[in-house]
Amino acid sequence: MAVVEFKGKKFEVDEDGFLQRFEDWCEEWVEYVKEQEGIKEITDDHRKVIEFLQDYYKKNGIAPMVRILSKVTGFKLKQIYELFPSGPGKGACKMAGLPKPTGCV
């Protein structure tokens, strides 16, 4: 497994750049992912999505369904794509430190 270093922190990641352990998540991770995911600046809206994803994951052990993400944050899918161009899975979940989405994706 690859280890990336960013601003003095080390992160273990897989080949798609997802964090291997949720516990390793920190502010620097967000900064690091931002660069790969084509996000210029982390806004409050980005934070709202990331925080909700993390809350939901801690409570339920899974990432929320897209409809739940939209309903709770109030962002329509279109807005989520505007915030995270790679989408809620590859973009937002990766940035929030959640495990990589599985299934027939």
Partner: protein, 387 residues
């Protein structure tokens, strides 16, 4: 390797000048002129000979279609060769069928025959036909198949390999029309059943026979445990905690899952959802054969295919037992079924007990449905049977 930028993409401004949601090209851009002209005005068609169809239009125009096999998995070199043939004979037009055959269209029978001869003369250095002509009428056409060991991570067998073996064995029937009705063979490398195995006359299906191995150390990190639990059709998986010694020698308690082995039927759904539950196994994995499915509404309604062979081992690279079984099934069907009778129609008319007898297949307890309430309806609730 040198990185050559496309010129259209600037990684610093990924959304700038981005073109999206334009969909596929409209099919009419690629229609041969004669098809475009007579679209919606076809009167009748006939199969002139194996691999050659003729369509007659109201205007009197005739289109001759030459159909040839393809391995579906193609290199750009082969696609270029297909284009060269299309350029030479068909004004640059060509199409692929829903079973991944290639169809070239010309406007006269002479041209079609010449094209057929040319296609049949092209061979790979190893000797196999590049573009064997056939696949029409009551014969065996191309096998709809999946990724297998070429690209997928959940297969229990290979797709391209098994398909080549079966098509080699049944090649004559691709170029003939001697069967009672068309015989559709499909292949899927795990029981996700991508493609058409559940509704084909004969189906080849990759199958596991051992439960997953649990990677406790990583499971909670890489998987969403509730999804793995919910992925199981028999409720064999439950969440649990366990004490482990990690690779680095540290002892700790982790969240993970437990699998009740006697409830597991090796579907592999949990591995699809959770990378820490791999179950592929060299000796355990193999092939199940199903038969009797169909999609068309012709005479009888569409049917699901049914399991008729519980296990055939993976015998790379030529799967001899698989080839032998397929040969037996096709020959028995060809000999006994009536005209227009699909494989499933035949088996249902003579009764499945007679079908197993004729095909000399072993009937084991694996073939008796035991999945939930609907299993009951697959048992026999009548005294009507043959000894």
């Amino acid at each position: 390797m040198t990185f050559v930028p496309s010129g259209y993409y600037n990684p610093d401004k990924p959304m700038e000048g981005r073109i999206t949601d334009i969909g596929p090209r409209h099919y009419a851009e690629f229609l041969p002129p004669i098809i475009k002209k007579n679209k919606g005005k076809w009167l009748w068609h006939e199969i002139i000979e194996p691999g050659i169809l003729m369509h007659k239009a109201e205007s009197g125009d005739e289109v001759y279609t030459v159909r040839c096999g393809s391995p579906r998995l193609l290199s750009t070199e082969t696609i270029k060769e297909i284009c060269e043939i299309a350029d030479e004979y068909c004004g640059g037009y060509v199409r692929f069928t829903t079973r991944n055959n290639v169809e070239f269209m010309v406007d006269s029978l002479d041209k079609a025959r010449k094209l057929k001869e040319d296609l049949n003369s092209r061979k790979h250095p190893g000797g196999s036909y590049k573009f064997p002509v056939g696949g029409t009428g009551a014969g065996i056409t191309n096998i709809v198949h999946t990724q297998g060991w070429v690209h997928c991570h959940t297969p229990a067998t290979d797709a391209s390999g098994t398909v080549k073996v079966v098509m080699d064995e049944l090649f004559e029937d691709f170029q003939k029309m001697r069967l009672p009705a068309q015989l559709r063979i499909s292949m899927a490398c795990c029981l996700n059943m991508c493609g058409a195995v559940h509704c084909s006359d004969i189906a080849i299906l990759g199958y596991h026979r051992k439960p997953p191995i649990i990677d406790h150390e990583w499971l909670d990190n890489l998987c969403e445990i509730p999804l793995a639990v919910a992925a199981c059709p028999t409720g064999a998986i439950r969440p649990t905690k366990t004490k482990i010694t990690t690779e680095s020698g540290e002892e700790k308690e982790v969240k993970t899952v437990a699998i009740k082995q006697e409830r597991c039927m090796f579907c592999g759904n949990c591995y699809t959802m959770c990378p820490c539950l791999p179950l592929a196994d060299k000796e355990g994995d193999g092939i199940v054969i199903m038969a009797g499915g169909k999609l068309s509404n012709c005479i009888t309604p569409p049917k699901f295919s049914k399991v008729i062979v519980a296990f055939i081992p993976n015998e790379t690279p030529r799967w001899p037992q698989l080839a032998q079984t397929m040969r037996k099934l096709v020959d028995t069907y060809a000999k006994h079924a009536r005209k227009y009778e699909r494989f499933g129609d035949w088996a249902e008319r003579i009764g499945w007990e007679r079908f197993f007898e004729l095909c000399e297949l072993e009937f084991s307890h694996h073939l008796i449905d035991d999945f939930r309430d609907p299993a009951y309806y697959t048992w026999r609730h009548t005294t009507q049977f043959k000894f």
